[in-house]
């Protein structure tokens, strides 16, 4: 028997996850074994914790090897007799971080590996980032306006700085003055634990159709070219990375309840509040359309838009 062993080492540092929280997978032995038939291979896997399960899928045929077939198991140890080839392997246990790897089993080889799963960190409170709500104000005449925003979650960043309120000198052309500085909009960003979405309507949109789709929708909701461009240049590069996105717009009262309400000293003729939730998808799902637009843009206008990713829009069983 040759004592050639496939060796490699993968090591890389991670910003946020500590090393001891990562799953690890080692191959201890990968060697030619004359007692194994040509075209076959034996894979032995030791797992921790002992109740961890192993799923192997033949990468070429897609055939899955789950339990009881060609497999013997003693506590914490599996032995598979398999056709040689490349397999997608998943090792998992409830409460632990899964290992997912591709593994190549060469003909007549005996391979022995160890999987060491680590416990998931205490289910962290999931925080959803409320991205970039920006507020534009277009009063009928130049006037001082006090604006209070009450987010469902909390602020993480504001610009200009929010100090119990924003107090601005607003002008009909949309420029906002605070002291000697001028702004086009008021910006905040926040986090909240979930979105209480009233009713899931929405559209499934192909990644490359993102820009056309958003242009059409934002026109419908009455955003002007500047607001529209700010929105599209912020979101399109993110959404276009996904094959599909399920997109839900929340507007008006739904925005107030789900994301943030506001209190403004000036009474605007129309108030447009628009929030986009999206979920990236690999496959297409049925579109159900967006809610009717409740506001017509006219006279003095308040505009606020924001958005965020939310993976609870389409449940797994709907995919």
């Amino acid at each position: 028997m040759k004592n050639l062993v496939l060796l490699f080492s993968l090591l890389f540092a991670v910003n946020t996850v500590k090393a001891d929280q990562m799953p690890s997978w080692y191959i201890n032995v990968d060697e030619l074994d004359d007692s194994v038939q040509v075209g076959q291979a034996i894979l032995k896997i030791d797992v921790y914790p002992a109740n961890a399960k192993v799923i192997l899928t033949n990468s070429r045929t897609g055939e899955g090897i789950k339990t009881n077939k060609n497999q013997s198991k003693t506590e914490g140890s599996y032995v598979f007799e398999l056709d040689s080839g490349v397999y997608d392997m998943t090792i998992f246990a409830r409460g632990y971080v899964s290992v997912e790897r591709k593994i190549e089993l060469k003909s007549q080889h005996f391979v022995e590996g160890h999987a060491n799963l680590y416990e998931k960190i205490q289910e962290r409170a999931i925080e959803h980032v409320v991205y970039k709500p920006v507020v534009y104000l277009y009063p009928s005449e130049s006037t001082q306006i006090s604006l209070k925003v009450m987010p469902v979650g909390k602020f993480t960043f504001t610009y200009p700085k929010y100090e119990g309120e924003w107090l601005v000198d607003a002008n009909p052309d949309g420029t906002l003055k605070i002291g000697d500085k001028s702004y086009d909009y008021l910006f905040w960003e926040g986090v909240q634990s979930s979105y209480d979405v009233p009713e899931i309507v929405g559209d499934c949109v192909r990644g490359e159709e993102t820009v056309n789709y958003l242009e059409t929708q934002l026109d419908r909701y009455g955003l002007n070219y500047r607001e529209k461009q700010d929105f599209i240049t912020f979101w399109a590069p993110k959404l276009m990375q996904n094959p599909f996105n399920y997109i839900v717009f929340l507007e008006g009262e739904d925005y107030n309840k789900t994301v943030a309400s506001h209190d403004c000293s000036y009474s605007f003729d129309s108030t447009i509040k628009l929030y986009m939730l999206y979920q990236g998808l690999d496959t297409e799902v049925e579109s159900r359309g967006q809610v009717e637009c409740s506001v017509k843009r006219e006279g003095s206008v308040y505009v606020e838009w924001g958005g965020g990713a939310y993976d609870q829009l389409i449940k797994e069983d709907q995919l």
Partner: protein
């Protein structure tokens, strides 16, 4: 029969949702113990780009083994001492590749080891460069960029250039629609943006917003552009205790994305920020920072652009 064993250490970050990511790796292709020799072992390695479509490694690779450091291009040969564990590090002198630590176990005297190292190139996203065009008179202009990286998204759509009319109200007309600015983003090789000798500025988290405001004001940006810049980047610079920041201006920016326009601007202001989260007990003394103050013109044709990249 002897079996060499022990080998793969895979410490891989697996956040559940993270996309599949292949780090730099290596494969031992041959190990054999010679009958005679000087008692040392030898390692011969080929260095390859892990992306098969780019077989050539870019720039120099530093090979480090103990006190030995050598600069190589595509292969190396080392004499090493037999040991239970031998560690060799490959790193890119241009920062273009993720470095790789090669660990060899149970290295015997007179052993010859051959391996292939696959290095993964870092790609950097050039995010949101936006171009503002101003003119006191309505005018049409062609703007072209020569982007060294790969253009990924543009809005309005970049079609071998933008043909833009600056309207009296300041809006930009392009293909029959109105825009407030021109937008593009791209993917870059790290060394297209960052050179080794560049001077970084280290800023405390709490001072980032104020620092950016001051720096951009001095660089000639107006309130609106500063607000666009700060609201885009500052929320992403609130996580680490310090941030290490590099500004590319003028010729440095042109190195990565030269632009040309059919009418020469009376004033051009371009600023690109490269940054990364940093740990440092020694933030830069910002009061000693030398920055030339740019006087912004309020007439004529003005071209203003900013963008940035976060290194990961």
């Amino acid at each position: 029969m002897r079996v060499l064993s022990v080998l793969i250490i895979a410490l891989v970050a697996m956040s559940v949702t993270a996309k599949e990511y292949m780090p730099s790796y290596f494969e031992v292709t041959k190990r054999s113990v010679m009958k005679t020799g000087n008692g040392k072992a030898t390692v011969k390695g080929n260095i390859l780009d892990a992306h098969s479509e780019k077989p050539d490694i870019y720039g120099d690779i530093l090979v480090t083994y103990g006190e030995t450091v050598m600069t190589v291009k595509t292969s190396f040969e080392l004499e090493i001492d037999p040991a239970d564990t031998v560690q060799i590090t490959l790193s890119s002198s241009s920062y273009d590749y993720e470095s790789l630590t090669i660990r060899l176990y149970d290295v015997k005297a007179n052993e010859a080891i051959q391996l292939e190292a696959y290095l993964v190139m870092y790609m950097v996203e050039a995010e949101k460069p936006v171009i503002y065009l101003y003119s006191d008179k309505s005018m049409s202009v062609d703007v072209k960029l020569d982007i060294k990286g790969e253009l990924k998204f543009s809005y309005p759509t970049y079609k071998d250039g933008w043909n833009v009319t600056i309207e009296d109200d300041g809006s930009l007309s392009c293909d029959g629609k109105s825009y407030a600015y021109l937008f593009w983003d791209a993917s870059y090789k790290q060394s297209d943006l960052v050179a080794k000798a560049d001077e970084w500025i280290v800023v405390e988290k709490a001072k980032v917003t104020e620092f950016l405001e001051n720096y951009l004001t001095n660089a000639g940006f107006n309130d609106r552009e500063i607000a666009d810049f700060v609201t885009y980047w500052a929320p992403r610079m609130m996580h680490d205790n310090y941030y290490r920041i590099l500004f590319l201006e003028g010729a440095d920016y042109d190195r990565a994305a030269p632009f040309s326009s059919s009418i020469k601007p009376d004033q051009t202001i371009r600023l690109y920020m490269v940054f990364e989260g940093w740990q440092s007990a020694k933030p830069t003394d910002l009061s000693k920072l030398k920055q030339t103050k740019v006087k912004r013109l309020d007439k004529g044709f003005r071209y203003v652009e900013w963008g940035g990249s976060e290194l990961k």
